[in-house]
């Protein structure tokens, strides 16, 4: 006990003396939580639309108005021909071309049907896909409006149709921040826990201080605990800062129990700390540790369901995600923050994450040799 206290005292002294690490711990989560959710937004806005209107009628103008009024599109040009429109796409000035054929209004009134042509610049897949879908939906709506107008005008009962009313549960206004902030917070906790542990231990190796420790009676277990506990505490501090930032900046109040969130983070941190410890046992220099951690952090982030849902990944990727501890933290964070899940709901994840912690730490300790 005395040894651990001594090691902790030493560790905290060093951390508090290292101004850049301290700044990293305090400023990084704040800055990232302020910036990232705003940037990591799936909503596609400001799509540049070029309209080639060959009809120049009231109907075509109405339709274009309706499209622009949706807020997703910006009418950037009205080229005279489709070829001119293509040029705009090539210059990257337009993302979408909508071509309205000549006689659009006439055909719609007389024959009751008309075709418009949509060309999408698919270099940015998300923008193209979503933009195309938005535009189709808007045109469909417009189509329905016309149908309705005529139906009333001719007093003929409208064709039966299914009206869909969607209600978004747990996040009624589809606010992306509510979805992203808990996820990014999970990543931050992982970064501070994993990165700092790995780098800290490797630093002792690099400077040779570990040699000096190894010739003392300090036990293996004490040394490791002396390294894990400070970063376990720091992880919790970062989490607290993150919660405060998400409350004050995004007004996110977890629906579920705050204590349950802390309990999960407390159970989760040993898993990432153990991972950092494991990485440190393989590395001789901080540079090596940095690159290995960076490699895994990328996988953790991209395959943890932060940006893209795990369910839509290929089978093998879903398997990988199963072995990614961050997956569970992101999931549980969202469950508690958005849905208000209780202890029973997250219990299976508790077991999984504790298992991760046990396995990773055992591997790390087996691999950590005091005498080579």
């Amino acid at each position: 006990m005395r040894t651990i206290r001594l090691l902790l005292e030493k560790e905290f002294r060093q951390i508090f003396r290292n101004k850049s690490i301290l700044a990293l711990i305090l400023v990084m989560p704040t800055m990232q939580l302020i910036i990232l959710p705003l940037a990591a937004n799936y909503e596609v806005k400001n799509i540049n639309l070029a309209v080639v209107d060959n009809d120049h009628s009231t109907s075509s103008a109405q339709m274009v108005n309706k499209i622009v009024a949706s807020g997703y599109f910006k009418l950037c040009a009205s080229p005279a021909t489709f070829e001119q429109g293509m040029e705009l796409i090539e210059l990257d000035k337009a993302d979408l071309i909508l071509e309205i054929p000549a006689g659009f209004e006439r055909n719609i009134t007389r024959e009751g049907s008309e075709k418009v042509f949509l060309a999408v610049n698919a270099i940015n897949g998300v923008k193209a896909g979503l933009g195309g879908t938005y535009l189709s939906t808007i045109i469909k709506n417009y189509n329905q409006d016309i149908l309705l107008k005529w139906a009333q005008a001719s007093k003929i009962p409208a064709a039966p149709q299914i009206n869909i009313t969607a209600s978004n549960w747990f996040n009624p206004s589809l606010n992306y921040n509510f979805f992203m902030v808990p996820g990014i917070l999970a990543i931050l906790v992982t970064m501070v826990g994993g990165f700092l542990t790995a780098l800290n231990i490797v630093k002792e190796k690099e400077l040779g201080t570990i040699e000096q420790i190894n010739v003392t009676p300090i036990k293996k277990v004490h040394f490791i605990l002396g390294k894990l506990i400070p970063f376990w505490i720091l992880g919790n501090i970062v989490f607290t800062i993150g919660l405060l930032v998400s409350y004050f900046i995004y007004g996110i109040v977890p629906v579920g129990n705050l204590a349950l969130m802390y309990a999960f983070v407390i159970a989760y941190l040993p898993a990432v700390l153990g991972f950092g410890l494991l990485v440190s046992t393989f590395c001789e220099t901080q540079q090596q540790a940095m690159f290995i951690m960076f490699f895994f952090m990328m996988i953790f982030m991209l395959m943890g369901g932060l940006f893209t849902p795990i369910e839509s990944m290929p089978k093998w990727a879903q398997m990988v995600a199963q072995f990614n501890p961050v997956t569970y933290l992101i999931k549980v964070m969202r469950m508690i923050v958005l849905k208000g899940s209780g202890f029973r709901d997250v219990l299976p994840h508790f077991f999984t994450i504790i298992l991760f912690g046990v396995v990773l730490n055992i591997l790390a300790i087996l691999n950590y040799r005091k005498t080579s």
């Binding site: 030493k10 060093q14 000096q212 190894n214 003392t216 005498t371």
Partner: protein, 303 residues
């Protein structure tokens, strides 16, 4: 009981099976200042790391303070003080914090063993609130020695403690070691500097992982054939070549501004050599008989 005893200690590195330490045997008596003298890469640090339980030997056995380095490594760690060749204290902790840390690790306090480090620590005291990383080279060595001594070790291992330290600090450092020896601490020290060898009670000359000779410095010097001469003249390089070609000469080598010449055993006087060189058109020659240094012994053993 010996403070340190190594029997046939060996270490092999890597897949290429580089032999770093080749069946080394030596023993250090209690209260003795024992020097491992050898050039870089001779295997000194590997021997140190094995004896301080940081590295497992690949062959042979060794004991420190009567304890086996493999079986009793835990107990040995309580009783030895180790100062690695590279500065290995916490650079971001202050002088006092480092010392306190290592004292507490060993379950003691600075006050308890202050008498051991007093001479050294008084020089450090003005800087006690300075971070260890900001100390000068000599001060760092002194702090490292204090930290290695603070738990009153039975055996002290100093791996190249004076490498990269200025000549004045080096001299001071060796005086400190002499005083520590008087306190009954056995010291094993390694150094690449031959002049420091003479300050040890006993030395082992080591090269390529093998011990060439173990004895007291004076005995090693005495074992040297007495016909060593220092030769000086213009154009040293050709002079050295001509001297080495002379049949009376066993070996001649450059040594500072002089050439050191070992004559064959039956040649007791340099006159024949001088005559030989004059015949070869060398003039203004200066030759004198000298007492061999450890370095001369080492160079001779290496041949």
């Amino acid at each position: 009981m010996f403070a340190v005893e190594a029997k046939e200690l060996s270490k092999v590195y890597g897949k290429e099976k580089t032999i770093a330490v080749d069946a080394v045997s030596f023993s250090v008596k209690q209260g003795e200042l024992f020097g491992l003298i050898g050039p870089d890469g001779a295997g000194k640090s590997s021997i140190f790391r094995m004896l301080t339980t940081l590295l497992l030997p690949d062959g042979g056995e060794a004991s420190v303070a009567g304890l086996d380095i493999i079986k009793d490594y835990k107990e040995i760690r309580k009783r030895l003080g180790y100062m690695p060749g590279k500065f290995s204290l916490y650079a971001d902790l202050t002088v006092e914090e480092n010392l306190n840390f290592f004292a507490t690790v060993f379950g003691t306090t600075i006050e308890e063993n202050y008498h051991l480090i007093k001479d050294i620590y008084v020089q450090l005291e003005p800087f006690k609130n300075r971070r260890a990383g900001k100390l000068s080279g000599g001060m760092k060595q002194k702090l490292a020695l204090c930290c290695a001594l603070i738990h009153k070790p039975e055996v002290l291992f100093l791996d190249e403690p004076t490498t990269g330290v200025d000549p004045v600090s080096r001299k001071e450092f060796w005086e400190m070691l002499k005083r520590l020896k008087l306190q009954g601490i056995s010291i094993l020290v390694s150094t690449p500097y031959m002049d420091e060898a003479a300050l040890c009670d006993k030395i082992a000359l080591i090269q390529g992982g093998k011990i060439l000779s173990i004895d007291t410095p004076s005995a090693i010097v005495e074992a040297f054939p007495s016909n060593l001469f220092a030769l000086k003249g213009p154009s040293m390089y050709t002079l050295l070549q001509a001297t080495n070609n002379c049949p009376m000469v066993e070996h001649a080598y450059a040594f500072g501004e002089y050439a050191h010449v070992i004559l064959r055993e039956k040649e007791q006087s340099p006159d024949a050599l001088l005559a030989y060189l004059v015949e070869k058109d060398f003039t203004a020659l200066e030759i004198k008989r000298i007492v061999p240094s450890i370095e001369d012994c080492f160079i001779r053993l290496l041949r």
